[in-house]
């Protein structure tokens, strides 16, 4: 497979997986690192009280996890794929990954707007 095809697939997998994993951190209440800025401490999982920041932990989980998935896809494509992507396959990869990315961004928006009673 030519380099541009591999880059297209791996890059889109990375972007879509990152949005998907980030979405998962919200919807499945994952036990991630939290920073407590007043106490200056980090904890694994959220404590019952105190001002907490989970944003750092969410990013530190979603982006590396997506990078691992993208690396696996890259290794598989390098080892197995011989033919270049057909035009239909390029379109399918682009459309599917765009749909996943936009849908996960929409889920994040819905989650927060619902939680904070915007709608």
């Amino acid at each position: 497979m030519k380099k541009a095809d591999i880059t297209l697939v791996v890059s889109w997998v990375f972007a879509a997986a990152a949005t998907f994993f980030y979405c998962c951190t919200l919807w499945f209440k994952m036990k991630l690192p939290y920073y407590y800025p007043v106490e200056h401490v980090w904890t694994l999982g959220k404590k019952a009280d105190g001002i907490a920041q989970g944003w750092y932990g969410k990013g530190l989980f979603a982006l590396p996890a997506a990078a691992v998935v993208a690396l696996i896809v890259w290794a598989v494509l390098r080892a197995v794929a011989e033919k270049d992507l057909s035009p239909a396959a390029v379109k399918a990869v682009g459309l599917a990954a765009t749909a996943v990315t936009v849908a996960c961004m929409g889920c994040i928006l819905y989650y927060e707007f619902h939680k904070w009673r915007i709608f």
Partner: protein, 158 residues
């Protein structure tokens, strides 16, 4: 004392100035991408240059935002937004989440763009670079509008 709370306003200004550069390069880049969609491929070097400026300015925006976030979280969000304006917290939370996703979208966009020649690899351009460019623009403009609005509501930690 919360991390960097005594230089919060300075950090916020740096965040803002880097955003100016980001908006300028994003707008230029979007114009060039629009030309690609009309079949005009004369300014590929400039378009790629602006993408590189977008990357560096977004990294600066992201890092300065991450550094001043603790002071914002304690003195603005917990003290003002959460109790009195929870809708503002909702808007802000989406801004932060989408900000993190912006890194992934931007990296994917750059890698695809670097691997192609727009004029000859049009399918990769239309199904790779163009959607990522549009997603990134939506995401950053949401961040800019919400960030500006919330700063008007409460912009300092004092």
């Amino acid at each position: 004392m919360v991390f960097l709370e005594n230089v919060y306003e300075l950090g916020l200004l740096l965040h803002l100035f880097a955003t100016f550069v980001l908006v300028g390069s994003m707008t230029h880049n979007l114009v060039y991408v629009g030309r690609y969609l009309r079949g005009k491929f004369a300014r590929q070097k400039q378009e790629f240059f602006h993408l590189k400026v977008i990357i560096w300015s977004y990294l600066i925006v992201y890092i300065t935002g991450a550094l001043i976030y603790p002071a914002f979280r304690v003195h603005i969000r917990a003290a003002v937004f959460d109790p009195a304006m929870p809708w503002a917290t909702g808007l802000f939370e989406v801004k932060e989440h989408w900000g993190a996703l912006g890194l992934a979208v931007l990296m994917a966009w750059y890698l695809i763009r670097r691997s192609i020649t727009p004029e000859t690899d049009r399918l990769h351009l239309y199904y790779g670079c163009v959607p990522l460019c549009l997603i990134f623009n939506v995401l950053v403009w949401y961040k800019i509008i919400v960030g500006s609005w919330l700063t008007l509501l409460k912009g300092t930690v004092s």
